[in-house]
Amino acid sequence: MLRRRMTLAALDDPRSTFSAAIWLKAQARPFAHDTRNAIALTVLDVVLAIGFAGGLALAIPVLAQGLVGAAPGLALAFVSLVARGGLALMAAKAGARAGQRMKSSVRRMIVSGLFTAAPGSASGLTPCVEGVETLDGYVSRFVTAKAAASVAPLIAIAACALASPISAAILLATLVPFSVGMALAGMAAGEESRRQFSALDRLASRYLDRVRALPVILAFQAETSTETALAQDSERLAQKTSGVLRVAFLSSAIMEFFVALSVALVAVYCGFALLGLLPFSVPETLDLPRALFVLAMAPEVYAPIRRLAAAYHERQAAEAAAPALAALANGVPPPARSQLVAAPTLRFDAVEVRYPNGEIAVRDFSLTVAPGETVALLGASGAGKTSVLHLLLGLAPLTAGQVRVDGRPVADDGGMGGTVAWAGQHPFVSPGSLGHNIALVRPGSTQREVMAAAAQAGLFGDIERPIDERGGGLSGGERRRLGLARALLSNAPLVLLDEPTANLDAASEAALLPMLRNLMRGRTALIATHSDRVAALADRIVRL
């Protein structure tokens, strides 16, 4: 129960009209086929339970007469049991498949969104990794258990009715208060536990916040006071949670009591009926096999509902995660753009960038860059240099003014994406050879072209040498060169350079300068930097 948390964003979501349940159903719909399989297999389980109970009921009364008489019953019981195990395995596989597919679909939407949204919007990491995981249990356990719980108990009772209508009536009579109690407890506990979830989540966020802020806490030597405050919070919450759990456990205890009671009632009824000592007359004559059958079936009537109760928290977890997921799962691939054929003119007119958190990164910025010109944007970190570059890619929100490339306004949904060369501090790496890493930006480029780009960027040596996922196999300087080689290979006539030499020592920076000059020749280029030496490469320097 404790392990479920949701992001703070989910709690603060102002869209109170958002229904997590409806969203989840909509996301599960495309995988209804897989889910239906899992449900069918789960429901079939009760049929085999009937087989097992029937086998026992046939075998036990004739046990004393030797094994030959009991053999058919025993065989039925054995086969039913093994088949039950097999069926449960198949159901688990089908459920897992449905969960896997649903996770994958939602995750793909979120991941796409992360690459198309402006940076600085809510971090999608936690929802994408953990939030999505809750969908698994939702589909593979909750949805299947819920569907099975509405059908399987009735099938079990119907089977009992064939053997002993009175016992079936007893089971049905206890099933009704059981289900009503379950629904009521579920609703009451649901509201209570939602509050509890959010309290737990606040504690978790607070804890996490203090861990993140440790450098400050250390600097102010507030470790002890912070620890004490956290301890008090945790203990208070533990007390409160314990109270909530008591209520939840009490309601489930009452339900379990009905289960145990129904087994006891059926046993006692059958006993008295078989003895012929019932104080009232009943319209059925019971024999031992029938009595044993209903006795073995009694727990099975409630089993699906208990499984549903056990899976209930899967639903709560998924519903808690849903708002954050829904907010992120709206990634749309940017529209394809026509390639720039020649070095373009850039024009920024009284541009303002204001991020959703209210921070104004760029204010009243105007600049015209002629075709083939190189302009360096110089300024301290936080001055908005990168935001200006991001404007051209639609990665920063343009809140005032206009950005034009060759006279056409740059739409803010993708910007010039797909037509620009970019070289930054941390070129991405993909496991594979160096050549593969360069060639990614222009599929279909020849080995010769790749090698030429590498050489121009100052990357010498084996083009086939392997690079791992973290960029192992490349030095810091080489990694920048990889970015330059990509920019050269892409042959895009507009180049954006984001701090191309940051964190390099003076010698490495100096070594990189000729390559940068190489790259900018014949292209329109914007460089965001705070290095005077990089800025000196530009035709013009603009201070931000």
């Binding site: 392990r3 026992l56 036990i60 046990l63 004393a64 009991a70 054995f78 159901a91 688990a92 896997q100 994958s104 793909r108 992360l114 940076p119 990491l125 990794v129 953990e130 966020s205 996490l208 203090r210 993140r212 802020a213 440790l214 450098p215 806490i217 600097a219 470790e223 912070t226 620890e227 301890a231 533990a238 314990s242 205890a253 009591f257 145990a260 009671l261 087994v263 046993a267 006692v268 059958c270 078989l274 003895l275 012929g276 000592l277 301290a380 936080g382 990665l395 620009v420 060369a421 070129p427 991405f428 993909s430 990614l440 996922e469 973290r470 892409s490 895009a492 003076a506 290095s531 005077d532």
Partner: protein
């Protein structure tokens, strides 16, 4: 035992009464479930035989005692289940509540470099999810007792019918336990693989997200999505394997149960029928009790993995003590001599090492352990603004836990933030939001300034204190800072590349490879405060 395991076993010890209660209740649950059904079978069969033998036999059959015991067992089982769940969850809740702050302290007293390198995602998975995963260690602690009691009850009831039946049930229990053990053997590595795949996916996503601009520029978003998704799907496949494993085990379990039923049927030949029925049902229920260990095995794998990952984050208490002395020698400092009255301005190009130099001076960097003695001499407002997710008051009190409101307002005044906070409806109790999101960038920075002002330390260290402020605000902040320093007599170390704040410094020191050093103070000196 690692220090972390010590913490864990301390909590285990502290929760012993609750865990013991849970175990006792678990024994009740396990035994009652088996006895209830077996006794019912015995009762029905006996009743059927007696009923068939005629009215006299039926009247001679004792119905009252068995039916009373059956009802009693129903109540015992329910009550025991309630008791077991309440005490095991209580134990888990309180143990985790105790563990969280201890972990925080362990982390806070570790090497500062590690704290600084701890990313948000990493922190979340270690200190929230992994700690939560540990609760299984407490909640599932009663599972073996429950299963054991069920197994013992099954074997004992089988023995009532025939020793052979007991033997067969015992063998079934052993086979089931062996299969369960083998499952946890395979689940361990599979679970670790899954976790590794998950962090592979998480890291890849974080890395690619940082390169979003590059992907966008080249139109490689689809490639990046596919690259991330490949890893996500690898994780999902491993997770499915782990999730399906208990069902796989269930198939083994069912087969064993079926075989045991047949075996018991063999071994009760010649035994009177009610006892035979009792033995068969006891076998079925006893094995079901043992089967419940499968889920415990699955959850234990996750808890063990969490334990392994958390261990390295906690250091020995003894190592801590050694670094807490306040009279330890101060680290060497490349900068100018620092005397109490000094106002030193540090400037130089970005990336030149200004921040690194002052962080080293304050013992926030480089030292193997957090050095409390050194830190007590500095009040620091870092360049990277870092606020607690709490109220303005909470943030300020971090620096001065006992300060009254008047003192807090004064510091806000000096940071030119008092008007803004006074205008907010909740004043000092205004919530700043996560990372100070509800404040503007400039307000956030000024709040960290006010916080640093509040700390009673000989040196005020401000890194880029006016970055992101407009010219008017910058001037006011700098003027009030100068006035405040005159009043308090604190020393100032100010890092900036802007002329305005540097203007109140008496001396400047330029760090960086390119530009010339204004005041070439090269001697290594120890800081005397």
């Amino acid at each position: 035992m690692t220090p972390f395991e010590h913490l864990l076993s301390d909590q285990m010890g502290a929760q012993r009464p609750r865990l013991a209660l849970a175990a006792v209740a678990g024994v009740g649950v396990g035994a009652a479930a088996v006895i209830l059904l077996a006794l019912s079978g015995w009762f029905i069969t006996g009743a059927a035989l007696a009923g068939a033998a005629g009215l006299a036999a039926a009247h001679a059959f004792n119905v009252l005692l068995p039916s009373a015991v059956i009802r009693l067992l129903a109540i015992v089982r329910t009550a025991a289940r309630y008791g077991e769940r309440v005490s095991s969850h209580d134990a888990a809740l309180h143990a985790l509540a105790g563990l969280r702050p201890q972990l925080f302290r362990g982390l806070a007293s570790g090497p500062p470099a590690r704290v600084l390198g701890l990313g948000g995602g990493e922190a979340a998975s270690r200190f929230i999810q992994d700690v939560d995963a540990l609760q299984t260690l407490f909640i599932r602690r009663s599972a073996p007792w429950m299963a054991g009691a069920g197994a013992v009850a099954g074997v004992a009831l089988g023995a009532l019918a025939s020793p052979w039946a007991a033997g067969v049930i015992l063998m079934g229990v052993a086979a089931s336990l062996a299969a369960s053990h083998r499952l946890s053997g395979t689940l361990g590595p599979a679970g670790r693989q899954r976790l590794a795949a998950m962090s592979g996916f998480q890291n890849r996503l974080a890395a690619h997200q940082a390169s979003a601009a590059e992907f966008r520029a080249y139109g490689l978003e689809a490639w990046a999505v596919a690259d991330v998704m490949r890893r996500a799907e690898r994780h999902d496949a491993l997770k499915a394997t782990v999730d399906i494993a208990p069902a796989r085990q269930g198939l083994v379990q069912m087969t064993v149960t079926g075989a045991v039923v047949i075996g018991v049927a063999f071994s009760v030949q010649g035994v009177e029928l009610p006892l035979a029925a009792l033995a068969v049902l006891a076998a079925v229920m006893g094995l079901e009790a043992v089967g419940s260990l499968t889920l415990a095995a699955r959850d234990r794998g996750a808890a063990e993995a969490a334990r392994v990952r958390l261990s390295p984050w906690i250091v020995e208490e003894t190592q801590l003590g050694a670094s807490l002395g306040s009279d330890r020698p101060l680290p060497a400092w490349d900068g100018p001599d620092l005397s109490r009255e000094a106002r030193l301005g540090i400037t130089g190009p970005s990336g030149g090492g200004k921040t690194t130099a002052i962080e080293r001076l304050m013992g926030l960097r480089g030292a193997a352990q957090a050095n409390a003695g050194l830190r007590s001499r500095f009040a620091y407002a870092a360049q990277h603004v870092m606020l607690l997710d709490g109220t303005v008051r909470e943030n300020l009190r971090l620096a001065a836990p006992d300060a009254d409101d008047e003192t807090l307002w004064r510091a806000l005044e000096d940071a030119d933030l008092s008007d803004r906070i006074r205008a907010a409806p909740q004043e000092l109790d205004t919530s700043v939001g996560q990372d100070g999101m509800r404040l503007s960038g400039g307000e956030r920075r000024r709040l960290t300034l006010a916080r640093a002002y509040l700390r009673d330390a000989p040196w005020l260290v401000l890194d880029e204190p006016t970055e992101g402020l407009d010219a008017g605000t910058e001037r006011r902040v700098v003027e009030r800072l100068a006035a405040r320093l005159d009043r308090t007599g604190q020393g100032l170390i100010l890092v900036s590349h802007r002329p305005e704040p540097l203007s109140i410094c008496e001396r400047w020191w330029t760090i960086g490879a390119v530009a010339a050093t204004i005041i070439p103070t090269r001697e290594r000196r120890l800081l005397r405060a």
